[in-house]
């Protein structure tokens, strides 16, 4: 009796192994045109239509999302959009949370594009961004900052990517008032999370053919915590001998970044430093309205625009869709649709460079639709 059971179980095991073997074989065949995404492990044929979740957001969110969808349609990108609304609803336990439909959608599709969300102050629910981050276990935030030709800032030669650990660090949210008038806030650094983000950083560097990774830390003061982060980075660096690795103190990086940003390539750092550095680099190229951002998670990836909802210009066709568009391009590269990503990106950069149709925040007078149409025209002409 027991022997029969064992036989059945071993047959089951063999059949499971066979199934998984065939699926990996299929995936390897499809690898040809695709870039491997290390974290999601998602692979697909390049001719297959892919579903993506779209979260338009508030304020100018809906109009810029529509602009992006129009551009993608013109470029014939094989993506089907599934629009969801993440306005929090009261759940059965009385607490506000993201609607289940939205969660299911992103879990199913594993890729999402998010517009700006408004977090009302003092209401009964937590920050939506935080909730999304926890839900999909988004552990790394990538922000490439590149100087745009055609939009002049004081810095012309910026080409930096900041990769920041997204789950722990100073933003762990663990705070207590020990004694009256004395507050302590705990910064949490774990080996697991640091290894994860370090590996992602090096893989990203390799895939995007970049040369150098700089770990930014303050281990002279926070010896144990940043020391652990550094050790993890060093361990991972040893596995990637073709990529240059250096470690710099946070103050040195800040000092050098404002004087000569061209000396840095990819920066990897814990949560708080990453937050500040990524915003500073965004400031160097022209602000948050032009910077794409991607959050990579274990179960998927969410790309977003990091600017505000701009309620004062919402609905007036004045918004600048560049940030959301560049984030969508990042999404395409992540999914492996490199060629289409390149076409759209080039069209966008050229439109800004020509400076004939620029929206208000870049100093022009064009409307959002005119800007979008110009990009579409360039794509069609390609």
């Amino acid at each position: 009796m027991a022997a029969k059971l064992i036989k059945i179980l071993s047959n089951l095991k063999q059949s499971i192994c066979k199934i998984s073997k065939t699926s990996t074989k299929v995936n390897n065949v499809a690898q040809g045109n695709c870039q491997r995404s290390p974290s999601t492990g998602s692979r697909f044929y390049s001719s297959q239509v892919r579903k993506c979740t779209m979260i338009p957001g508030d304020g100018i969110g809906p109009e810029i999302s529509q602009a992006v969808q129009k551009i993608f349609a013109t470029a014939k990108v094989p993506i089907e959009w599934e629009t969801v609304d993440v306005t929090p609803v009261r759940g059965p336990d009385g607490k506000f949370g993201i609607p289940q439909a939205a969660i299911d959608s992103v879990n199913r599709n594993k890729i999402g594009l998010k517009g700006p969300l408004m977090t009302p102050v003092g209401k009964g629910h937590r920050s939506l961004n935080l909730a999304l981050r926890k839900e999909f276990n988004l552990y790394a935030n990538v922000r490439p900052c590149r100087s745009l030709e055609g939009y002049k800032t004081l810095y012309d030669n910026v080409d930096v990517v900041t990769i920041r650990e997204n789950t722990e660090g100073e933003y762990s949210g663990i705070e207590h008032e020990i004694v009256d008038g004395v507050v302590q806030s705990i910064k949490l650094i774990t080996e697991e999370a640091s290894m994860r983000v370090a590996e992602f950083a090096f893989e990203y560097t390799r895939e995007n053919k970049r040369k150098k990774v700089t770990a930014v830390h303050k281990a002279n003061i926070m010896r144990m915590s940043d020391g652990l982060f550094l050790r993890c980075c060093r361990d991972v660096a040893a596995k990637f001998p073709d990529i240059k690795f250096e470690e710099k103190y946070l103050d040195t990086v800040c000092l050098n970044m404002v004087q000569d940003p061209s000396q840095y390539d990819v920066l990897v750092m814990p949560n708080l430093y990453g937050d500040i550095m990524s915003d500073m680099c965004a400031g160097l190229v022209g602000g948050l309205g032009l910077t794409p951002s991607g959050n990579i998670g274990i179960n998927g990836a969410l790309f977003e625009s990091v600017h505000g909802t701009a309620p004062d210009i919402a609905g007036q066709d004045k918004a600048n869709p560049t940030a959301l568009l560049l984030s969508a391009v990042m999404m395409l590269k992540h999914m492996g649709l490199v060629e289409q990503a390149r076409i759209i990106e080039t069209a966008c950069y050229e439109t800004i460079k020509e400076a004939k149709y620029l929206t208000g925040d870049l100093g022009g007078k064009a409307k959002c639709s005119e800007f979008t149409n110009e990009i579409c025209a360039k794509i069609s002409a390609h």
Partner: protein
């Protein structure tokens, strides 16, 4: 005799003290509860009309810069005698450090370079942090003013950064609860935040500054930065003639690189102060120009603004001596020798802005000794009563 009594009293420095007393938490030791230590006022040393000042050269470019300060002071005739104490970076023992701290307590004023702590042992506290905490130098002031002759991206910057110097993220209280999980504690206290805010507003009032900006991250760190923010706002109400606002640190950094002229005086906690001061130093032209002042209730320590050791450029005669010279000028002002301070200050400004004798980090091609020689020439030829 008195010195020996001091030596015997256990000082709470890293493992020396933790071994000695077991019933006090690290936090209590850190914040020097009155049960442990009596802060006795030590009379400031003043012998024969000349001030004695402790000099801590530190490592890297520290020793050469200190030599320049001595030269300049000799030519300027400043009535200051230096008591030099070298702290060995390689050892874990804190004898040199205790000696240095006692000397500063005796003299009241010090000038220092950046002291390196080579040990990576997590029990040994960073020596700079130890000095600051022991002497309770709770304020760090950085007066960032653009030099007209220096090539930089933003001109006409005039910002004062006032930064909490002893607690915050630099509390150095860390532990590994489970293997692979490290917790580091950031401490914010009501009393320290209040002292900083009050000092800052008094400073603004005394120097005719119009606006104070409080930099924080209270949207995420609600309790800790929230406490700092609330305390500062409360103190701000007592100074209605000074405008105040607050800004989140990431927005602040973004604004600094695009429009730094909107800031006047900025108050913040320890880590943000480090970041913002380095950003502004970068905007002004480099780490070699600005000097920082650390103030406590009883002591004052002067140092170059961006606390860099400069090991890479040590001994090559290309380090920028201006930061250390500016620190020495601040020190002379603090001691009350305004005339000497002005004389050296004017010589510095003439050298950098009019003569354009600048070191490589500012885009020039002169060596440090050239710069110092020119400063000395200006001093010798200036009008002296």
């Amino acid at each position: 005799m008195a010195a020996r009594i001091f030596m015997k009293r256990p000082l709470e420095l890293g493992k020396t003290f933790r071994k000695a007393s077991t019933n006090l938490s690290a936090f209590e030791i850190q914040h020097k509860s009155p049960l442990v230590k009596k802060q006795q006022k030590i009379p400031v040393a003043l012998y024969g009309g000349r001030h004695a000042v402790t000099m801590l050269p530190g490592s890297g470019i520290g020793p050469e810069l200190m030599a320049y300060v001595r030269d300049v002071f000799r030519y300027a005739g400043a009535p200051v005698d230096f008591e030099t104490i070298n702290i060995n970076p390689n050892t874990d023992e804190s004898d040199d450090l205790i000696h240095a701290i006692t000397s500063i307590k005796r003299n009241g004023v010090a000038i220092k370079g950046n002291i390196e702590t080579k040990s990576e042992d997590t029990e040994v506290q960073s020596r700079n942090v130890a000095i600051r905490n022991e002497l309770d130098l709770f304020i760090n002031v950085l007066n960032c003013k653009s030099y007209p002759g220096v090539k930089c991206r933003q001109s006409n910057i005039d910002i004062v950064i006032i930064r909490q110097n002893t607690e915050g993220e630099y509390a150095m209280l860390e532990h590994e609860s489970v293997h692979g999980v490290v917790e580091s504690m950031k401490i914010v206290t009501q009393s320290n935040s209040e002292r900083v805010a009050r000092w800052a507003f008094e400073y603004a009032k005394r120097h005719g500054r119009k606006k104070v900006t409080i930099v924080h991250k209270a949207n995420i760190m609600k309790l800790s930065d929230g406490l700092f923010l609330e305390t500062s706002r409360r103190i701000a109400k007592e100074y209605p003639e000074i405008e105040h606002n607050d800004m989140i640190i990431d927005n602040c950094c973004m604004q600094l690189v695009s429009n730094p002229h909107q800031f006047d005086v900025m108050i913040m906690t320890n880590l943000y102060g480090s970041i913002v001061s380095n950003v502004i130093c970068g905007l002004i032209g480099g780490a070699g120009l600005l000097s920082g002042r650390n103030y406590g209730d009883h002591y004052a320590v002067f140092e170059p603004g961006t606390r860099n050791t400069g090991t890479a450029i040590a001994g090559k005669n290309i380090a920028n001596p201006i930061a250390m010279l500016n620190a020495s000028v601040d020190m002379l002002e603090h001691l009350g020798h305004q005339q000497h301070a002005d004389m050296i200050q004017q010589a510095i400004v003439k050298t950098i802005c009019e003569d354009n004798i600048q070191t490589p980090d500012l885009g020039g091609h002169h060596s440090s000794s050239d710069v110092v020689q020119r400063v000395i020439d200006h001093i010798v030829h200036s009008d002296r009563t």
